[in-house]
Symmetry: C2
């Protein structure tokens, strides 16, 4: 069962939940001075339009026509009711999923890649640098840069670069240059050559270093930042309308969390409704057990990258130099999370659950065989939580309405599916020792207690 | 620019163009007796409902509700106007493409896999066997069998099995068993061990052999046959409505041709309009220069498979034991074509053009960088023809309306894109010598002259 909105229903504004939450108690700090960040501090990295969005108190931010026109290539995306999965689980629950994998780059990431490329082009920038984990963000930005005639240089986390040669080829097909991170092109990369698998934190350091060194080069981040979360809210806004078509309202909203923008995208418009109407909705952030930021991290000021070049942000963190085990959900291998998502977890608005890699893949296969779509490993974590909720509803005899975001397809992850089928997929454990070591390296910064 | 129909506009009937063309002058013949084929001759392979469709004179065949319900998972598929490509070509032509790659299996193939699984299940069949070239058909049937709780056994052409391990993993993820063809499981396979790359003809022989040997096992073909072409006509029917939304009518309709069902799917509803109204539309079948059935084959009775187990069908053929060069467009590596498509070429209703592998990939990259979607190598052949038509329209100063079928995405073909970018992609030439050798092996059968 598919709920499809007409093109005229592509949202005209992004939802800025930061406006609802009010000025942050703990603002981002300059990494050098540790004073609250000024817009100008970010100017070497981002165009002013995005910096304004990052700090905006407008509840709704208008989407430029040029961006909406490109969104129309794949938006509005469909919302499905998973009737075949419900039947297989024999549950009274109603399971809905929003499918973002039909975009050209195969995930929700283009929702922010397009506006980021647009605003940078408008400010006269020549090139964007970025990092990519599983490759979904790198593909999305490569495509977006191609559409706005910007150059694009991508640092891909080493383990994903090795595991996913076809993502690399895709990034190149759309015109970007790509490097395995840690590379030898940057000081940051050269200092981290011992990290064989790489990490998002290191790749970010490399991309930032290159952008800072060149006047007409900017940096682009695929998650974590406020403006990225803002851009993804087109997902949840469309869900609101589509569930209305279905005559339903969610009891639970679920999304996987790497940096947090996918989760923000589906949940923030619903969280606004909850804050405004007091409506009883649960929100669950699904994260990998191998990188359990929200469930095992400490709430503290930390850097967004490994080297410590980015502002200090309040977040649940495993330490900025934590190198997560090489799970296949490369997009979830990040030491921290978006400040807004962390704050909502801290306040109890959002719950968090950690899911093991094999549990995620078992759920992905169950989903693929009933609903047809083979999910990427990242949203497989959300599917596991959705299935658990549906089974819990069955025990409770409840017609629970469950909504989750299927943020990308798994067509580039078949090697992982193959390993799973052959029983060769390991549950890479999160080591408390590793974390303790990483936490000792937390920056000296104001306490959040 | 996207034209999206509501779910209520999924066609209720398939278009049976055979009814318009009248009884064939040259009917299919039994391979042993060479007498016109009876329905019972096909009963070991297909359920009676499909055999009836194969020989039906009904102009429109009703689509079962159960099939339409599953179609609704991805249908109606979007029609796009390729404005960014038009701009890049600086052409006055209007280029439209129908995108079938958004289906769970990534191509149009599920349009027939679902009804084939449905009718076999209804007849009490336990298992379906099949062949697959590039893997798109094998994925589609694996998915369809899973949905109707049928077992599925797939023989994958050797060269594709080697080139596309992730397609194999996908077929397995949906629950089918898969073998590299030629295999050692069948007499047909054992007799062809010298063919290292394999071919669709050999894989068909293997799958047919297994089906014939077991009462509760049937065979399923992904193209070539009449009922397969019939099922694909949902594509063209939707295009008719979508172009009406756009206020346009095509001057040229283009599809790539391997066995012919993709081409039939987009063109047959328009060919019916041409036959009924005399409307001036051109139809172009795009085939690979390495396997140029329609442009260089002879029109004769030939087998559909390599060993000679299938009925003799009138077709343009390169000889049933021709093993096409291992181009990446594995779905187009077939020695013959659907009888109906061949007859339309013979009568001059349909034109044919042969496209080289590098021309196809050059067009695919141009398309991907403007329109976002990276096409599979098969529809890249259609894109090349569409671009040529758009450039011809520019020279002629014409607002020509061009429609082509983008029948699948290229996410499993990134190794080929990679080769193309590194300049390592070869144009595998069609050898006249090879053909002459193959044609000497044409069966002794009535002449079509």
């Amino acid at each position: 069962m598919k709920y499809q909105l007409p093109e005229s229903e592509i949202p005209t504004h992004w939802t800025n939940l930061m406006a609802d939450l009010g000025p942050p108690e703990h603002p981002p700090l300059h990494p050098g001075t540790q004073l609250p960040l000024n817009p100008e501090d970010l100017a070497p990295l981002f165009p002013m339009a995005l910096i304004e969005q990052e700090m905006s108190s407008e509840p709704n931010i208008e989407i430029p026509d040029e961006v909406r026109e490109i969104y129309a290539m794949w938006r509005p995306t469909p919302l499905f009711r998973a009737r075949r999965l419900e039947k297989a689980l024999d549950t009274p629950a109603h399971i809905y999923y929003k499918y973002e994998g039909g975009s050209p780059a195969g995930s929700h990431k283009v929702n922010t890649a397009i506006p980021q490329a647009y605003y940078n082009k408008a400010e006269g920038i020549r090139k964007l640098t970025t990092e990519t984990g599983a490759g979904q963000w790198g593909s999305a930005l490569s495509l977006a840069c191609g559409m706005f005639e910007l150059e694009c240089e991508v640092f891909m986390v080493g383990i994903s670069y090795d595991q996913k040669p076809y993502r690399r080829a895709m990034i190149e097909a759309w015109g970007a240059t790509i490097h395995r991170s840690p590379s030898e092109l940057t000081e940051a990369g050269r200092s981290q050559q011992a990290n064989i698998t790489g990490s998002l934190g290191i790749a970010i350091s490399e991309a930032v270093e290159l952008a800072v060194a060149n006047e007409d080069v900017h940096y682009s981040l695929g998650s974590v930042l406020g403006h990225v979360c803002v851009h993804q809210t087109v997902i949840g806004q469309e869900c609101l309308k589509q569930l209305e078509m279905a005559g339903e309202y969610p009891d639970v909203v679920i999304g996987c969390v790497g940096g947090g923008s996918n989760f923000a995208g589906i949940s923030f418009p619903f969280i606004r409704e909850k804050l405004q109407s007091g409506r009883d909705i649960r929100f669950i952030a699904a994260e990998p057990a191998a990188c359990p930021t929200l469930t095992k991290g400490v709430y503290a000021y930390d850097y967004g990258d490994t080297i410590g070049m980015t502002p200090l942000m309040p977040m649940y963190t495993l330490g900025h130099d934590f190198v997560p085990p090489p799970v296949h959900a490369g997009g979830l291998r990040y030491h921290g999370d978006a400040s807004a998502v962390c704050a909502l977890v801290k306040e109890g608005v959002v719950e968090a659950q950690a899911i093991s890699q094999t549990e995620a893949f078992r759920s992905a296969v169950k989903f693929g065989r009933t609903e047809g779509i083979l999910p990427a490993p990242e949203p497989a974590h959300a599917i596991k939580v959705a299935i658990d909720e549906a089974l819990d509803a069955k025990r409770a005899g409840e017609e629970r309405v469950i909504l989750f975001n299927l943020c990308g397809h798994g067509y580039f992850d078949m090697a992982a599916y193959d390993q799973f089928h052959r029983g060769e997929l390991e549950d890479l454990e999160f080591s408390e020792d590793d974390m303790n070591r990483a936490l000792e390296h937390l920056p000296q910064a104001p306490s959040l207690a």
